[in-house]
Symmetry: C7
Subunit: 74 residues, 7 copies
């Protein structure tokens, strides 16, 4: 990610593997397929982690933006 606006920075990670962390402590790791200005985010080949442990393979997952704390390239 390298850009002057935050969403441009997210765009650099499109189709790459990212970590998405939620306010409830859950973590999703997957390929960043889509996001919008609300930071609503879609991951592909996603895995869900609770307390650092992989709990579920989800395939595709839509994550509501207001529940997200951080997004980081894996």
């Amino acid at each position: 990610m390298d850009a002057t606006r935050p969403l441009d920075a997210l765009n650099v990670s499109r189709n790459k593997r990212v970590i998405v962390e939620l306010k409830n402590g859950r973590r999703y790791v997957g390929n960043l397929k889509a996001f919008d200005i609300h930071i609503n985010t879609v991951l592909d080949d996603a895995e869900e982690y609770i307390d650092g442990e992989m709990k579920r393979k989800l395939g595709t997952v839509f994550i509501r933006g207001d529940t997200i704390t951080i997004i980081s390239p894996q």
Copy 2:
């Protein structure tokens, strides 16, 4: 789901079975009938799960968008 905007991705699941998870930990599984930009969502043939256990069959359920964390195809 495969699209460049998150709501397009949700649209791919229309009339298919999805899992909707809420901030209060509840999970609803049903056929995705409708959603809007607030992620207000309507499921058909919905079942409610609490702590992983099926508690109620709800038929149709309207879920207020701001209470949702993730939506994923079942």
Copy 3:
């Protein structure tokens, strides 16, 4: 409820008996008289349930939308 937009789906339940659940765990059962885009909702002949037990008959009740998690036909 059967419609492509969530509020259309709610509209199918107008004047019918619905269950409204709140973020604080309370549940209201009544006839759906009115709602708006914020999901502010008015029920008639409403009963309040706390922990699954009927606590009060309220007649009419106005429920602020942002406190609602789900609405479902009874």
Copy 4:
């Protein structure tokens, strides 16, 4: 209250005694003098109840809308 829009329904209770319940569990009972689209609400001759017990007579009270869960005619 009888109307097709939630605020019309509230309007039927204007100058009548209503119960207003808050997210923090407090309850105010008073004459409904004013409200707006945010559900900011003004009661006259208001009494405050905590855990079902009358704690204070407040005269007039302005209640910020986003703290309200339900409003019901007494």
Copy 5:
């Protein structure tokens, strides 16, 4: 306070002593100097109460509206 819109009702208390209560349980008592549509509020000669006990004299205090539950003339 006597008016058909909530902010008109607040206006009746301008330059008079009011009680402002917050979501975190704190209470401020002071002269109502200013407020806006977000209910951001400024009090003069303000005192802070925690658990019913006066803790600090604050002189002027700006209170962010979204943290307020009720405002009432003292």
Copy 6:
């Protein structure tokens, strides 16, 4: 601070020492350099207090408005 609009009142404290209190209980004391309509606030020569005890000197600090409860001249 003396003005009819809350932000005018804040403006009177510009370049003066203020106390900013947060929803998480932390308190920042510093020179008020800037603020906007969201009450996003910048302090200079700021000190952070936790449980009434000075914990850090921060120099400049940007405080997101929605985390603020009150601002008061020191």
Copy 7:
């Protein structure tokens, strides 16, 4: 940081090392690459601290603005 608007003040720290603190208590330290009016923020060469202890090197991290409490130059 020295400016009359909060975002101008943030801009002075662009490409410099800042501390970003979150509502959940986590702290990120990194080079401030980007931010927007929602205070969505992107850091480079970021490190995550939990309870004051460095837990992870994250490289780039996108932080959703509404989860931030303060930003301060390191």
